[in-house]
Symmetry: none
Subunit: 228 residues, 4 copies
DNA sequence: TATGAATGAGCCTTCATTCAT
DNA sequence: CATGAATGAAGGCTCATTCAT
């Protein structure tokens, strides 16, 4: 995990050198707007977010936003599109060369996903997409296709690897994959929905949650011979 | 309908006997409005749902809605309040008298929940609450307190029952409970968000999903001695 | 001309009895809005007229306008549609039974048109349509078809009547018709465009203008035998 | 270009020799902008024309336009000012030396006006001024003063010449002049408004129209003695 | 009590105008 | 001078809410 390529898909966090005002920013604008929009859409929902807020958060005026995005809706789509992790191919390659046990691989996948997606700002889009799916069915379908499906494929391979090696017992793969996806989706929804409204006593620690979850699931996946 | 297990929390679905139109409906109005609102809020979100639509779906005029609910926001709160299952106490009693194995109990809980909550019209409020949590933090907190917590307590007891009897191995109970909750929440979100946008090939069968999920988790919960 | 049926196509000028506020006005609203819109569109043009002004002039709020017309553009179309004179059929019948000379008939037509169209509030739509033709080609085509054409047909019949009776000499009828139309259109445009901006010394008296115009044209139309 | 009959007021149509790009164009800029603006204003109206379009059509950037014209309104005024024919003095001189009959002179004036004004790009300003008179009263008054009045004076002289020579009968001169102006204004309005929206079957041929119009009017102007 | 016409605050979007480069 | 990114006032349109009937 250490040597992995940089974090988030697009990185504009460092406002390091305030060089030439105009020209430099011009290229940065769309990204800054998308970041601002992501944060606000996730927090308040699409409808309740005013474009003026987004613009203000990106440090520009309302009009400027419309230079880069023809409408609020297109901004939304851009937010989703831009935050769709293309990391799956990288992960796919990582999987090919993985040498440890499949149980370890499952555990690694889950934690890795959390660290790279779940903890990043991009984590909000899943919540966003699920919340706004009713209003943007195409977006939801698109997300399903571009994010859920690839992730699903990756995990299927992981489980097949384990079954092929005899480490895992046979299982209904398609549903078992969802057993891995479900807690992660839950974690995201929780983080962005209930967590901010709950007292500290009821906060979930993601890493512990994932650990527990994986341990339990692996208990059901590992072949009896591979006793623990 | 009489001998059936307690259906939905409130039932106005059957327009069976059109007795006295006026009088009967008068009392039913708020409930009909809440049902209509629930359906629309879940489908389109709070902001994108017009009160006029809600009224129309309930068969009344826009003005009438405001006789029963002082504002759209209050309508929302009423929707959540009204759909909060008070079934937990009933389930609690059921648990006390349950005699089968704890593994069976877990399985029973999950399926029972799905049949009574997940499949009902009320299933949407969870999606609703999570989606709108950003806009209605009090509602989210309220939901957490009135629904999640009791459910959590119930499941905790189930697990403790298994551990106490030696059927389950020791485990971090709080997180293990979330291992049971997570897939159910995921299922709800899925049903109301992605499912309507996905091709048939990618639809989840809830029962199979729950089955697989429970089997895998139980694999991790059951004590080694209780080998399968 | 005195005994002619009522003036303007639709008459809402008399706010006589302020009976019941709500109900009575409801039916009057669209008409009041159309009248207000006509006046403002003619005066300032389509784009420079704010819907709020129209509403204010009709004595309602901005929102009310949109109850009756889905958009400013539809309001514009309604203004044109509503002001399209259906008087042509009545004139057509009048023509059939006319017994005086064709020269008199021509003169009568011109003055009659001025009194019934030119002087009415509806006179502005011609100016409006011509001014906005570039932005509303369909409207212009519609107007051409529903107003210009019927008027053209009527005048053609008048000229044919004169030629058939030998009162007029043969002439290129289509263009001769435009010789009658042109000064009337000019008069309208003038009234709504230049007149309000010109000093009194340069105002045209419509009746004198029409008189002169008709006299001159008839000079060219009358057969030589019918010497004056 | 030197020996040619006085074309349009300003001519930038021929991009013939692409000499020194920069320097030559620099001087031409305002004119190119005015031409572009004229075309667009006539086509779409003042309000519906975006300055950016004008700039683009003139091949410069939006900002450049504002170097030459302080505001869109000033651009409009410049368009009108620039297109005001100073040809009246030339025509006035032509009139002094004209030797043919006054009837011929009238005919000549009308056709000449059409060829030099009506057919040129500048023909649109009349339509423009009349359409936008409500929004730009000063412009309308200015136009009246600088264009209509001189033209009116010229035609008055023509008629007076005919009356003085006994060729024309006495007539109310001021209104008779408008009898000549009206069809020309109508023709312009028609060309720029209805014509583009009408089917070919209803197109007017300007020359035939003018011919017919003049013939008819002359019929009413010529003294009886001067029988045809 | 039920209705639905009316309201007006609010938001998205446009576009003339400015100004740093 | 030329550019085009940025601005922000203005205006079309929506919709929750009110209230006379």
């Amino acid at each position: 995990m250490s040597a992995l390529p940089p974090q988030s898909v697009h990185d504009r966090s460092d406002e390091a050198e305030p060089r030439q005002r105009r020209s430099r920013r011009k290229e940065a604008r769309p990204g800054e707007l998308i970041d601002a929009a992501l944060a606000l859409f996730v927090e308040k929902g699409f409808a309740a977010t005013r474009v003026e807020e987004v613009a203000a958060r990106a440090g520009v005026s309302k009009g400027t936003l419309f230079i880069y995005f023809p409408s609020k809706e297109e901004l939304f789509k851009a937010v989703v599109r831009e935050n769709i992790s293309g990391r799956f191919t990288a992960w796919g390659e990582e999987l090919e060369t993985y040498t440890d046990s499949s149980a370890e691989l499952v555990r690694y996948c889950m934690h890795s996903w959390w660290e790279q997606i779940g903890m990043s700002a991009a984590s909000g889009i899943t919540k966003l997409v699920m919340s706004e799916a009713g209003m943007f069915p195409e977006i939801a379908a698109f997300y399903q296709q571009e994010v859920i499906e690839p992730g699903h494929d990756l995990l299927r391979k992981v489980l097949q690897r384990g079954i092929a090696s005899g480490e895992f017992r046979p299982m209904p793969i398609e549903y078992a994959v969802y057993s891995l996806i479900a807690p992660m989706i839950f974690l995201l929804m929780w983080k962005h929905s209930m967590a901010p409204c709950c007292p500290p006593s009821q906060q979930l620690d993601p890493v512990t949650f994932i650990d527990t979850q994986v341990s339990l699931l692996l208990g059901g996946m590992l072949a009896p011979s591979a006793s623990r």
